[in-house]
Amino acid sequence: MLSNTGITLVILTTLLSALIIYKSFTELHIENNFINKKIFNLVTFQTTFSILSFFVLIAGFVISDFSLINVYENSHTKKPFFYKVSGAWGSHEGSLLLWINILVIFSFLFLVFTKHNNKSYLLYTLIFQNFLILGFLIFLLINSNPFSKIYPIPIEGLGLNPILQDPALAIHPPLLYIGFVGSSIYFSAGIASLISNCRDKFFAKSIKPWVLISWSFQTLGITAGSIWAYYELGWGGFWFWDPVENASLMPWFVITALMHSVIVLEKRNSIYSWVIILCLLTFTISVTGTFLVRSGILNSVHTFANDPSRGLYILIFLSLMIFLALAAFFRYSKKEEYNFLLKSKETLILANNWFMFFFLTSVMIGTLYPIILEVLNDTKISVGPPFYSAVIFPFVIPFLIFMAIGPKINWIKNKYSRILSNFYILIASIFLNLLVYFIFGKYSIISNLIIISSIFLIIHSIKDFFIFFKKKNESDISRIVSHLGFGMLILFIGISHNFTVENDFNLKVGEEKKFSGYQINFNSVRMENEKNYKKIIGEFKLVNLKSNLEEILYPEIRIYDQPETLTYEASIKTKLSADTYLTMSNISRSDYYNIKFQNKPFMIWIWISAILIASGGFIRLIKIKMQ
């Protein structure tokens, strides 16, 4: 029943996409200034059907309809309600349907909200967006149908991978997809703008809100993913420079560059071609990332389901996209005149783009190089955290300083440079860095410089914040919040990276271990039964020998039966000053347990900073809305 309804709705959406493309093409030849009401209706229907099909899938999960293979493979009657719902986008097929939904909804919203008088620009955007929708719908129907049936109907489902049953991860795909897939709309709009010759600041205005939305959600999505990794994967890290994580970071760099460049296009009517390149690149890189993740050609912590046949389809689609983008750009781009001055805001925004491209290239080469090398040379290499820290970290220093000074420089030409105040702020930063040095202990020169420059940016942002409250119109609060968040993010990552105390040892019940100012007593273990798993709970007493503070920690080993999996739940005590993190894992054929202990200063502030960065985007969005 649900299967047929779902498939019917998907097919209707597909037909409507084809119809919209056809109607839009015919509409292009009609010379007037408004778009036929019929197209609006078609798009509304398409959106409705698409959303309904997604609700049908969710319903299938909620009522545990195991006649659907997808529900059978990814759900279980005993699973909590919340994870039944999130199971709908937990699998490849379901997430593809979510992906399509976002494509459709963005296309609908773009059509409704864009107040633009260039008719052919709007229609072309709609056409290209619907080509994307059509492509993914065909992929869904022939390769990854979430509504496929299974017969005979199983009585019970196989269950969802337990480490995916986590609140942060449940919201991670929708957030990330709004970022990833949301960028499709300015991919389409970019090509449309080239073809329809709509190249002015109105183009910039029309894509700006979508850039902001996708950027803010992408930021939140990456944050949710990191939070999940930190709490759930059980080894205390939150960013591993893993290929799958890189795949989500690469589009973020491009959107960030675009978000800044689009301002130049809007205010100065300049660097149009560059903005178009960024528009096209963002979605292309998002799809490339999806290809890398879904095809399974990467070896990653996060590959839970992959299949090469999917890879082939996405690759064909990706190639078509790349060549369409290249062809459109080569055919329609025109030579532009530039007029930049060294000390203008535009130049500093270019500097932002320059750094973003450096970060992007580093991450991209680190992710792709092993694949290329294996194909060309049959050598397998690993590119991990040490590579990225060596290449990227030194350049974070000038980047932070540009971020602090850049926004202060006026458009076109800067008349007044505040060298003295920068100097004071620098002195204050160095002083605060010394404070860090004395409280926590010594660390490398490069870390010192990173911390100084991040404090430099923080002080600048706080100063701007006060200026904003005195003279509201002088500065941009959304920028201040995001830049402040970024400075804090780097500062706290720097501190946590350098001053985490960690140890790894084996203990038996009743034993104790002393190390670097801590003492850990392994008090007891006990077993408990939960709804869909059993758990072994360890009780540990942690004494901080310096402050004599005691804490009791309860790490768990969970034994899920559907499917049978062991997971390790860290016991995390979060304080504003530091997180204590303890995991325990069993050692086969022995009474000993492996204990991993970490004391991570200012962990919670990393999440707060990341959320602050994203909220800057939302603030600007609200401001645009109010104008």
Binding site: F340, F357, V383
Partner: protein, 124 residues
């Protein structure tokens, strides 16, 4: 006598400090070694049979006075370059290490060209 006690106390202190630093070094090395039987984890993050064994071997090698580099070279000779997360600088990998900087220089040239142009215009 006093001198001897002093030396003992001093060396005890020294030893303590050393053990903390050693733990740090251990972890630095663990994090750079791939757990071959896991999915994209380093041996620091894994509790698999393989990860445990390699950790013991690394500890032994450090106690023998081997340097970080020697340990990586030993493991690479046995398991190939796949095992280390920091790719070695050799003829296969030099492009990996250089490419980001090439991109950086390329970007600088473009920005320089854009600004330069304007100054020329001004002269004209």
């Amino acid at each position: 006598m006093k001198k001897i006690i002093f030396i003992i106390i001093f060396s005890l202190n020294f030893f303590n400090l050393n053990s903390d630093e050693k733990t740090k070094l251990h972890f630095e090395i663990y994090k750079n070694i791939r757990c071959l039987v896991c999915q994209g984890q380093s041996i620091a993050d894994s509790n698999s049979e393989f990860a445990q064994t390699v950790k013991l071997v690394v500890k032994d090698k450090i106690n023998e006075g081997k340097s970080e580099k020697e340990i990586y070279e030993f493991l690479i000779s046995k398991y190939g370059e796949w095992i280390v997360y920091k790719p070695q600088f050799n003829k296969n990998n030099f492009l990996l290490w250089f490419f980001p900087y090439l991109a950086l220089i390329f970007g600088a040239i473009i920005i320089y060209a854009l600004i330069k142009k304007k100054e020329n215009n001004k002269v004209n």
